[in-house]
Amino acid sequence: MDFTLDKKHEMARSLFRDFAQNEVKPLAQEIDEEERFPRETIEKMAKYGLMGITVPREYGGQGCDELTYVLCMEEIAKVCGTTAVALSAHTSLCIDPIMTFGTEAQKQKYIPKLAKGEWLGAFGLTEPGAGTDAQGQQTKAVLDGDEWVLNGSKCFITNGKEADVYIIIAVTGTVEKRGRKQKEISAFIVEKGTPGFTFGTKEKKMGIRGSATYELIFQDCRIPKDNILGAKGKGFGIAMHTLDGGRIGIATQALGLAEGALDLTVAYTKERKQFGRSIAQFQNTQFQLANLKTECDAAQLLVYKAACAKDAAGFSPASTYSVEAAEAKLFAAETAMDVTTKCVQLHGGYGYIREYDVERMMRDAKITEIYEGTAEVMRMVISANLLK
């Protein structure tokens, strides 16, 4: 078992590291302070193919694998949680389901522009009454002649208003399953600018403040019949499969935040002098850093393992990596929260000052334990698989 990256992944990592250091890092503090979406960074990423890393070349992508995309997410998240989640929602939550469940026509229409970063992607599942209880969907889609008519709203949508293409989950009817009535849920592709599709509240958040988090509002929004994604009634499964991939993205975001915070803290503890020596010379500091490093390395292994499991599946619709993804996200998110919090502590008073990146990383880390499936849901997935 080879735990080292091969040459192409090593080269890819150094590309992503350079890009993150030179292009992403300089803006990280500013976009957080100003709650500004890093549009200019997205454009630069698009120029180098980073918005379509996993998309096959024939669809305008880079033709690389999930592991490569994860390395990109990791390096970016080390310096900016906001930019990382923008990439994650675009790649894992929008490109991935279209590649997996889309018709050839849909792929031809949407994928090249998404892969080249000309269009940005997003995913709308969550509603005010449907978070962890995703079945609590109320947004409706009714077929009227050649069009689906959407009514309802989504909340907390990452890349909201900035994105051009949205995967929207909606209720299309009721079905009977084992004598009980259940919602029939389907998935749709909706483009920004469609009449009846507007944006509501922009959320003010604790962290990833530059990420555009918006309410989506559908009022008699009409989309072509052919914009249903996958078969009617398969939407819930599509959403769950999509979230499996998304969890790998978020796990990587969490991993990067933890590693980035740790790197800064190692440097800080070497320089900071108290009581006549650098604080890195105190055993308490050393033991703390050892713990944090081990947690990060363990998280990294789980993340890479999940990425490799997804690579083995390719764009197959079967859900073969749900558990790996859940473990990676559960562990990496809790690691991120633990590591960033302790890194703030190791910085002392300076850790609380906004000029020091660790405080932003701690604020950014919290959401990784919540979105795209809470830590509690991760535990449900893992235990269900264990106990079946």
Partner: protein
Amino acid sequence: MKAVKKMSLEDYKGVFIYAQQVDNHIDNIAFELLGKAKDLAKPLNTQVTAVLLGYQVGNLTDELAEYGADRVIVVDDPELKEYRTEPYAHALASVIEKYKPEIVLVGATAIGRDLGPTVSARVHTGLTADCTSLDIGDFPLQPKPNQEQKHNQLLMTRPAFGGNTIATIACPDNRPQMSTVRPGVMQKITPVKGAKAEVIEYNPGFTPNDRYVTIEKVVKKVTETVDIQKAKILVSGGRGVGSAENFKILKDLADVLGGEVSSSRAAVDNGWVPKDLQVGQTGKTVRPQIYFAIGISGAIQHVAGMEDSDLIIAINKDESAPIFDVADIGIVGDLNKIVPKLTADIKAELAKKA
């Protein structure tokens, strides 16, 4: 490449310098090279020759004599009006082939670093770039068994590896021994008014060929906006400077040294200087040749941005200021008295040398 005739090294005599001129005005580097050439010529018991290439440059020979040239070889030709690699290389290489110097010094300028390598390759000899010292000595430095120790060799010392290694180079088996030297490294002599040199006019003939380029346009530089990361000398002020007005004494010091003013975060936060002058963790990282830290305490956030400077000079009234942990020279005292005095002292020193 024409075949190299086996030369007898003893045939090569004399210390030559390339007298760089632009717009028929001799560059200061030429005088500095002459100063060093005189030093080298003494133990070699030989004379100093300046090689002057250009068009209508005959009137410049006296100035070269005043700065130490015993002899000036002038190659005067319309093809040499403005610097171009090929006619200049042909001129200098021809002079070398005909007059056989044992040493040739060239300024490490944008001209010299193009002319030097081209000529040294043309005459099949070694070239050592950016020398910081030149001496006459033995090679090998210590006698070695089974190896001839040659005497009266030019020993050329230069930094490499980004300035982190110092190497001493010799060119024992080829002539001339060639070296380029940066401006400001060697000393020119006090000019001897009325000194005259032997003037030799030489023209090897210039036949334009494919290697001659055409000059379409000459564009002189306009002064650019300040980029502290490009400055070779930074005079940096901190909280101790006290006010925006008082930054003037730092500016005066910077001006006299040809440097720029920069600052710590405190000065920026107090509104005394603009943010683009800020050095430090939340400002810019700089690596100048000299960094003056004036009235700067030296907190790690600042030091992180300048600790790789070649020479750090700190002035602070507090002897326990952490800046003194990284300064090469630390002066505990009142910057308001020291800085203006330093500026005056430097002005006097420069006036002496001009």
